[in-house]
């Protein structure tokens, strides 16, 4: 049978319920200068950040809207001296609080206080398995040893610890050591996330793009470790999609499960949505969060399936991958509604793979990002 025409095809609709998770990017300030930073090229300065009172009210609104998990991120959230008050607000509204941190800016005293205020979980970033690699990537001398200390305080306080490792050309081959380190540190979870080329990371494609062979080996090693460490360490894995045939189900579908509030109060459907120039983002300073979730043009731009061009529109995978990543489509084709070039059905697929291969063979210098004050 021929594929149905777009006009007559019954369109499945994404019934977007309330958001499950919110990413609160409470600051862009960060002591590290990782070359794969996915934050915007233009960062919000300290005086442009939302006040404590506004964040606390946004957390209340988020809980009322149906958010269950509050991820406090940045930049480095510990750069905010009112982090403790934010954790209190999460607990007051029965939100599960997750501190996503490099560890820099945390002291033992602060960790004890955060636990007392009701912090639920710590996610610590890992730039490498030794000080040499980690401090090279983070661009912060002494960062690694501080991080190890934070991990010790975390587990000593009986807070669950997740390590988040962004893997790329320069560290992906050391995955087995990362896994051993996670177990030795008493982490319950390890996130192995292959570098994504959003924001600043795009400047470092040649320095960071893993080869196809590296990516494949990484996947095999994750599968083996998951089996071996069942009940010891949970491993979440974000594969290298530039070397894949189908796109990732980005955000579980645009505007369907999560929202992101950036330091100046704008609300975005995903972390990188600012890279799509025609989107207009509403601000929590102007409109209630529930109103933004439901009516914001940025959230409605790629919800459901109606926006899809062919070949996505008639593709039976669309309910699984939701057309992939809009920001990636924007970056690689100049059209945010285009088929994600990672997909084998995209006319850009061959070009993307050739580019990924060329970047993987390239060995550029790392370009570190600089921070606002």
């Amino acid at each position: 049978m021929d594929a149905p025409t777009p006009q007559t095809e019954p369109m499945p609709t994404i019934t977007y319920g309330p958001p499950i998770a919110m990413l609160a990017e409470v600051t862009h300030r960060c002591p590290l200068s990782c070359p794969y930073c996915s934050n915007p090229l233009e960062l919000t300065k300290r005086d442009g950040e939302l006040s404590t009172e506004i964040w606390v009210d946004v957390f209340r609104q988020a809980a009322e809207l149906g958010v269950l998990q509050m991820h406090l991120s940045g930049g480095e959230p510990a750069s905010r001296r009112d982090l403790e008050d934010m954790i209190t607000a999460c607990r007051d509204h029965d939100l599960y609080s997750n501190l996503i941190t490099s560890g820099i800016g945390l002291t033992e005293k602060r960790m004890v206080e955060l636990k007392k205020r009701g912090l639920d979980h710590v996610q610590l970033s890992l730039q490498g398995v030794d000080a040499e690699m980690a401090d090279l990537i983070g661009g912060y001398k002494g960062g690694y040893s501080r991080k190890m200390q934070v991990a010790e305080w975390t587990t000593a306080l009986d807070l669950p610890l997740t390590l988040n490792a962004v893997v790329h050309e320069k560290n992906i081959d050391r995955l087995p050591e990362m896994i051993d380190l996670a177990v030795a540190m008493g982490a319950r979870r390890l996130e192995v996330a292959t570098v994504q080329f959003h924001g600043w990371a795009d400047k470092n494609r040649a320095a960071l793009m893993p080869t196809r062979e590296q990516a494949k080996l990484c996947g095999q090693r994750v599968a083996e470790a998951r089996e071996r460490l069942k009940g010891v360490l949970v491993i979440d894995y974000v594969p290298a999609d530039h070397h894949a045939d189908y796109p990732k189900p980005c955000m579980g579908g645009w505007g369907s499960t999560g929202l992101n509030v950036v330091p100046d109060g704008r609300v975005m459907p995903c972390h990188a949505a600012h890279t799509i120039p025609h989107l207009v983002f509403d601000n929590v300073k102007d409109r209630p969060l529930a109103d933004i979730w439901e009516h914001s043009s940025a959230f409605n731009a790629y919800r459901g399936f109606d926006w899809m061009p062919e070949p996505c529109r008639s593709c039976d995978r669309k309910t699984r991958d939701f057309g992939g990543c809009r920001c990636q489509a924007m970056a690689l084709t100049g059209d945010a509604a285009a088929t994600d070039p990672v997909c084998i059905k995209s006319p850009m697929h061959a070009q993307l793979q050739a580019m990924a291969q060329a970047d993987a063979e390239g060995d550029g210098e790392l370009t570190y990002r600089t921070m606002p004050t």
């Binding site: 319920g17 149906g66 269950l68 029965d94 599960y96 639920d120 009986d158 807070l159 669950p160 319950r188």
Partner: protein, 91 residues
Amino acid sequence: MIPETGVPRLLSGCRTKHDKVRGNWVLLAPERAIKLDDIGAAILAETDGTRSLGAILDALATKYNAPRDQISGDVITFLESLRDRRMLEVA
């Protein structure tokens, strides 16, 4: 397999909550929010970190007027799935 004398306990950072917005129970854990059906919620309501699996099965069988040997398989499978995902331990 979890023995009847084993005492299951949710790990720190894992807790249940009634989700008023959606009208169901959820298990909140690191990077996970798991919707609980009535059975899952009933099991975790009895999992208090002090009682053994055997005592939990007794309580569920009485409370829901269900044959104990019929429910034990489901209860163990459920608790083991949480243990595999590092949300629960058995002392």
